[in-house]
Symmetry: C2
Subunit: 200 residues, 2 copies
């Protein structure tokens, strides 16, 4: 190996996250190990564990980056749209698109189980909340008279529902073998929740 | 060990599934191995692999049993209710209850990845469809004039949405740290989808 101190700690962290992301994209998460990540970037496992507390910490950093990438894509694709309902529909569309383009990385965000001793880092929680907050902002534009709690509640119900369709479809667990597209199912949920939200 | 041929093939299969279920409930899926299951029932790994094609086949059988148990609970709790809307709400309630009582077994149904060479057995697909069919039956009672395709579409959107709330809540990934109960979020989704379904 012998490349020790060619890179700063931050550079090693970024290289490791990129290498882990590539492995998960190409070969799935189950075969990812610290040794493989270290090998890919030309460092030892020992060096890796100077940068990450443990393997789960590496996965948490990878997941944080996945969410950042997805949120950036969605923000980029929606910020120019003027109508909040159109924005919500576009958010769902690009959520599905990101999940479809990066199924293994996307699933890892939701399926990774950190060991009990390792609390969810604050920055992970903040990142996860970004999606819900974007939906809530648009709902409050649709119906400004509703209070924050009603808006947050509706945003949570709607976005969790969209997530449910997305994960079941992507893992091949949806009824009817694709007779209905994910997009149409999501449209039904958005129509229903927005109409109820406007009316009630 | 020396207990070979004390039990029939079917008995060994059932014992192995029960032992695997117990392990997953107590210690989670990640530490489950064929060796542990074999040890628990007093047989060798070799015997286990006469009964199951491989480890994934054992997991698939475990998952099939989990779905059977859940469907039986839901059917038992809903069949005496006369109102189809009440039945749908009760289905969701007991879906959440089963998932909450058996989080690791329930997650395994959705998170297990069979190797690419191993197709989903027909009986798994049939089992998964049971939940959607129960919802569809109730929707068609609510609005008998709607055609099968509309009913199946709505059932899929609604049940996938409920699943989304359930999985995000159970894995601690819901916004707002539990300020809203899963039940209220699910109610919002059911209200929205049923009102839209009746109206449109």
């Amino acid at each position: 190996m012998g490349r020790r101190s060619d890179h700063s700690r931050d550079e090693i962290r970024d290289m490791a996250i990129a290498a882990a992301a590539e492995h998960v994209e190409m070969e799935g998460f189950q075969s990812l190990t610290a040794r493989k990540v270290a090998g890919k970037i030309g460092y030892t496992v020992g060096t890796l564990y100077h940068v990450f507390r443990n393997f789960d910490d590496l996965v948490i950093h990878l997941n944080a980056q996945t969410i950042d990438e997805m949120a950036a894509l969605i923000q980029q694709q929606t910020r120019r749209k003027r109508n909040p309902e159109v924005r919500i529909r576009a958010m769902a569309e690009f959520y599905v698109r990101f999940a479809t383009d990066h199924p293994d990385r996307w699933r890892l965000v939701f399926e990774h189980r950190a060991p009990r001793g390792l609390p969810t880092p604050v920055q992970m929680k903040e990142r996860r909340d970004v999606m819900f907050e974007m939906v809530a902002d648009n709902l409050s534009e649709i119906s400004p008279r509703r209070n924050t709690q009603e808006i947050d509640h509706t945003a949570t119900a709607l976005w969790s529902g969209i997530h449910g369709i997305c994960i079941l479809a992507l893992t091949g667990k949806l009824y009817l073998g694709g007779a209905f597209s994910m997009v149409k199912l999501i449209d039904t949920l958005i129509d229903s929740v927005l109409n109820e939200f406007r009316r009630s």
